[in-house]
Symmetry: C2
Subunit: 355 residues, 2 copies
């Protein structure tokens, strides 16, 4: 894999002979291994996958170009043996993943350690064409499931029932696992950005936020749509919706290779602030999506990251009025050479449920 | 809560003034807090919950007897401030949970640190009556869902479809989340203890392993049943089944407060070995279940843990013949004063699917 060879070449600059990769998402990214127990030692020459006997067959099937070692004893001991055999004096490790306990055990072994951060994450942030294709497939599955959910959305349906049905439909589309439990939040609940579905039934005049994602080959998608259940007095709901709609459009238009991600955030935020809702948009505008549903880049006012070609992230401003309700609209975008491509294709015109 | 006060009293023996709890399952166990971001500082007097603004309302609702602090800056800085305000000189931390990176940041603050292991896990291993009641409810939900799945089990049904249907039924029973993705493994696939459901359709003569769990108030259940699809030559399948059946009965009978968990393992393993399958039962006999679906005690030949009253664990021997198929039968038990109570009530006589 290309990414592995980039990492190989970086070893001298990182000041290590090899890197121990323990984060399972990074393990999958670099080696293709999808088991629940495994780590890599990335060396200048042939790298190593360590796993246990349960995954022997799976490792042989999934992994190319690694020496596969089946662990028999304590993992730190096996790592020490590899370092000894390969002449590794200085071993980098993922300090944001390794526990203190594991570090302490490893530090007793005869190898010098160096904490490293974001070595693989900084590669994952730029997607290869194969990855873009998996993410696109995860988007399509999520959209197809939601279209099939649409006829079930009506006054009287409970949040829980709708969430459950959508999860079932997502799996039927082929998603092996879901990036997070589906969010369905109606009426006052929609004012909570992280609401969990309750037994509450949709009522007339409710704003209803759906936030869900799909999966394909380990890659995720993430999107949000807000619908409105028809009612007598829905002008405030509509105003909120179209404020977020316009803010989101502006943020998408702002996406460009070379700018700071904070500029994308500002495009949405400035509009929401101007409309008088500056106190009601408490989260960032977006986040990267890939093998993890929340990864780099962070699209927020706090962030100094530069947007680059082939990054994939969400654009999801929202307004949340406590006790009344909220609106969030979330698309995924890929950064192209000159402009960005919106991966999500579900309509964004306000859908008013007449049932 | 009683558990919290036990921990308070242990502080001097542990050589610390307070313990920082970062494992979210332990946070929930000690405080009732179910948010996805939070930590506790357990002190001699009033303990502290640290969380962020998103969980302010939820913390107020869920947590009693803690000072709740909403973090505004870096978490290690907030922890330092609490230690300063409460006169904490020596702070224990969970070395199996804290990352090296977090440890490194915390060690720069003005508080002396001490790594601790299993302080909360050793309490969690013994269940209170309230916990037993939640686990029982998780068992009931899992069983009720499986009964509703039964009519769908037939030759021609795919593993994936059955798994998906069972997940849907579990959620309908009220399980907010599932402990793990449902396993349905048929024919040769049933020889893999960790098989994931595939598109394979059930065939005549197949052994079919179902491994699934329920949830209630955060507590899990875990069980396995193996059924047989009627076929012409099923004597080998029956023999495997009744070997595991007998091994499992013996292991359950062996459960008693005061013995080593390895004795329970041996009761199943010795019988399986005697029948000539010593190479085909590669995993331990069971594991504890509670707020985590895999927790202490470990019931295995390697283990030196003593079985004690009000422990809850699985008893799940199996035989796996590569290329042919496998059988596993898994119940959950509670250890009583004199004998053990089997929590699972689904029948264990071999179910032959005639459809």
């Amino acid at each position: 894999m290309q990414n592995r060879s980039i990492l190989n070449k970086r070893l001298p600059a990182l000041g290590v002979d090899a890197i121990l990769i323990t984060d399972l998402v990074n393990v999958r990214y670099l080696s293709g291994f999808t088991g629940s127990s495994g780590s890599l030692i990335i060396t200048k020459k042939k790298s190593v996958l360590l796993t246990d006997f349960r995954y022997q067959e799976q490792a042989a099937e999934e992994v190319r170009g690694f020496d596969v070692i089946i662990e028999h004893g304590e993992r730190t001991k096996e790592i020490e043996a590899v370092c000894h055999a390969k002449g590794i004096k200085k071993l980098g490790f993922e300090e944001q993943n390794v526990t203190y306990s594991f570090y302490r055990n490893l530090s007793k072994r005869k190898v010098s350690l160096k904490p490293l951060a974001n070595t693989v994450e900084s590669l994952r942030i730029i997607k290869a064409s194969q990855e873009l294709s998996h993410i696109n497939s995860a988007v399509k599955r999520a959209e197809s499931a939601f279209r099939k959910l649409m006829p079930h959305i009506r006054a009287g349906a409970s949040e829980q029932k709708l969430a459950l049905t959508l999860e079932y439909l997502l799996k039927k589309e082929g998603c092996k696992r879901l990036p997070f439990a589906v969010i369905v939040a109606s009426g006052p609940m929609s004012a909570l950005p992280h609401a969990q579905p309750t037994e509450r039934k949709l009522k007339k005049g409710d704003l209803v936020v759906f936030d869900w994602g799909g999966e394909s080959e380990g890659y995720y998608s993430d999107m949000t749509r807000t619908v409105l259940v028809k009612g007598n007095n829905i002008s405030k709901q509509k105003e909120l919706y179209y404020t977020v709609f316009e803010a989101q459009s502006r943020a998408i238009k702002a996406v460009k290779s070379g700018i700071l991600s904070a500029v994308v955030d500002a495009a949405a935020r400035d509009y929401i602030n101007k409309k008088g809702y500056e106190d009601f948009f408490g989260h960032g505008t977006g986040h990267g999506v890939g093998l993890a549903v929340h990864e780099k880049p962070v699209v927020s006012w706090r962030n100094k990251e530069t947007i680059r070609e082939n990054m994939v992230f969400t654009v999801e401003p929202g307004i949340y009025l406590p006790g009344f309700g909220g609106v969030r609209i979330e698309d995924m975008v890929t950064v192209g050479k000159s402009r960005c491509e919106v991966m999500t294709s579900l309509p964004k015109k306000l859908k008013i449920i007449e049932r």
